[in-house]
């Protein structure tokens, strides 16, 4: 018995290291489990609170710049709204909220990361503001990510700059669909894959959301094609896309609630069950 105690005392540093390493590995591997959710929710509350205070002071100092950016964005939106109303004569119908499938809420970014393999953004709206998991998040110029977790007053967003995450996208004005993902190198570039070479596409074409998932509404701009390679073998293009949104400088975002999302998911589930 004595020798066991001696070994434990002699090797206490190694034993402590192995024990804590085990905890560290478990902590890492529980990335999508209940434990991770609990820990990350706690992290969101703490870091959200701290970063909100810092952000409040920072945003006070850059009020003029923010106002100018918001004014420019508002004027573009007003202009687009008027064009739609004029073109489709929907002035009376557009005021009826029942006709709108999507509800848009604004939020302020309190923490933004873009230099890691898997980037997370924290915003200052949570369940008390009607924010729920899996809602889509867009910025002034295009998509930003999807709500991952929520606390009462904060939410974490999986940024589109997140490895292992891909988005259904299409080329504007054409029928070509593909899968958009981030390779981890540059926060301003993404890769569009699975676009068949039977489609005619060119550098400068705009990429937008495809609308084939319940996350993002169809037609939200993402970026423009800056590089295009036609492979010698295989039937798919290699496409590099420059993002329209500058994800390294985010201040305000908009959360889109798809009111018919649950209906869409139920139908999709039933269809999948039916084909088995």
């Amino acid at each position: 018995m004595q020798w066991i105690l001696n070994i434990i005392i002699q090797k206490r540093n190694l034993l402590l290291f192995l024990f804590l390493l085990g905890i560290g590995i478990v902590f890492s591997s529980y990335r999508s489990s209940y434990h991770q959710s609990k820990l990350q929710r706690f992290g969101i509350i703490i870091s959200g609170g701290i970063f909100k205070s810092i952000n409040n002071s920072k945003s006070y100092l850059s009020l003029t710049e923010s106002n100018q950016s918001l004014l420019a964005e508002n004027s573009t939106l007003h202009q687009e709204l008027l064009q739609y109303k004029q073109a489709e004569n929907l002035i009376s119908e557009s005021t009826n909220p029942e006709l709108n499938n999507y509800l848009v809420r604004s939020a302020t970014v309190v923490k933004n990361s873009y230099a890691k393999a898997r980037n997370i953004i924290i915003i200052d709206k949570g369940t008390s503001d009607g924010i729920l998991k899996d809602m889509s998040v867009v910025g002034p110029n295009g998509i930003i990510g999807i709500i991952k977790q929520t606390s009462a007053h904060f939410s974490s967003v999986i940024s589109i700059l997140y490895q292992d995450f891909s988005i259904n996208a299409k080329i504007q004005g054409k029928g070509a669909f593909g899968s958009l993902s981030w390779e981890g190198y540059d926060p301003t570039r993404m890769v569009l894959s699975d676009v068949s070479i039977i489609n005619t596409i060119a550098v400068g074409d705009t990429i937008e959301t495809g609308g084939m998932s319940a996350y993002f509404p169809k037609g939200i701009p993402i970026g423009t094609i800056i590089d295009l390679e036609t492979p010698t073998s295989g039937g798919y293009y290699n496409i590099e896309v420059a993002l329209l949104n500058n994800l390294t400088d985010l201040k305000h975002v908009y959360i889109i609630e798809n009111k018919k999302r649950s209906e869409f998911i139920d139908l999709q589930k039933k269809s999948e069950d039916g084909t088995r």
Binding site: N13, F17, G24, S28, T248
Partner: protein, 167 residues
């Protein structure tokens, strides 16, 4: 003893605060972020308990992972360098160093730079490997390791010189 413990606690708090509020926002070249909190582990006195340092290293990484919403890479990397620190010290300074504290050491600058550089390099390599956890991203892991190591090294040497002057 109490003063000593309070000093360590204060160092821990300052390391976490500066890293989260200041250095995490540097993002040089769009991807590089210096891990200046390593100063806490590197400057920990050589004659103090290693058992306590392993615990502190784990806690330091864990708190940073929580604050950065990351998946545990900081915890594993910081824990590992806290554990292997005695071997790195022996490799860098020989069997006996001239002082038990990096802050009052008179050894050649080369030995001190080797010690700091090795600690940062190992930490960054483990941190990036755990964060990406994919062999197809080896180039990215090596790029980030080298650039972050260089940036952290410069900042830690500057911090060390400033702290030494104060002493």
């Amino acid at each position: 003893m109490v003063q000593d413990s309070l000093g360590i606690l204060l160092g821990f708090f300052v390391a976490v605060t500066l890293q989260v509020l200041l250095f995490d926002h540097i993002n040089l070249f769009g991807f590089s972020c210096p891990s200046v909190y390593l100063f806490f582990i590197i400057s920990y006195r050589f004659d103090r308990s290693q058992f306590f340092l392993i615990l502190l290293g784990f806690l330091l990484g864990f708190v940073l992972d929580i604050m950065q919403s990351s998946s545990g890479a900081n915890t594993i990397a910081t824990l590992l360098i806290s554990f292997i620190r005695p071997w790195v010290i022996r490799f860098s300074f020989g069997i006996i160093s001239d002082s038990n504290s990096l802050l009052s050491m008179k050894s050649r600058m080369g030995n001190q730079a080797l010690y700091i550089g090795l600690m940062i390099l190992i930490h960054q390599f483990v941190l990036q490997s755990v964060a990406y956890f994919d062999v197809t991203h080896t180039t990215l892991i090596l790029r980030n390791t080298l650039v972050n190591t260089a940036l952290t090294f410069i900042l830690l040497l500057a911090t060390l010189n400033l702290t030494k002057k104060k002493n």
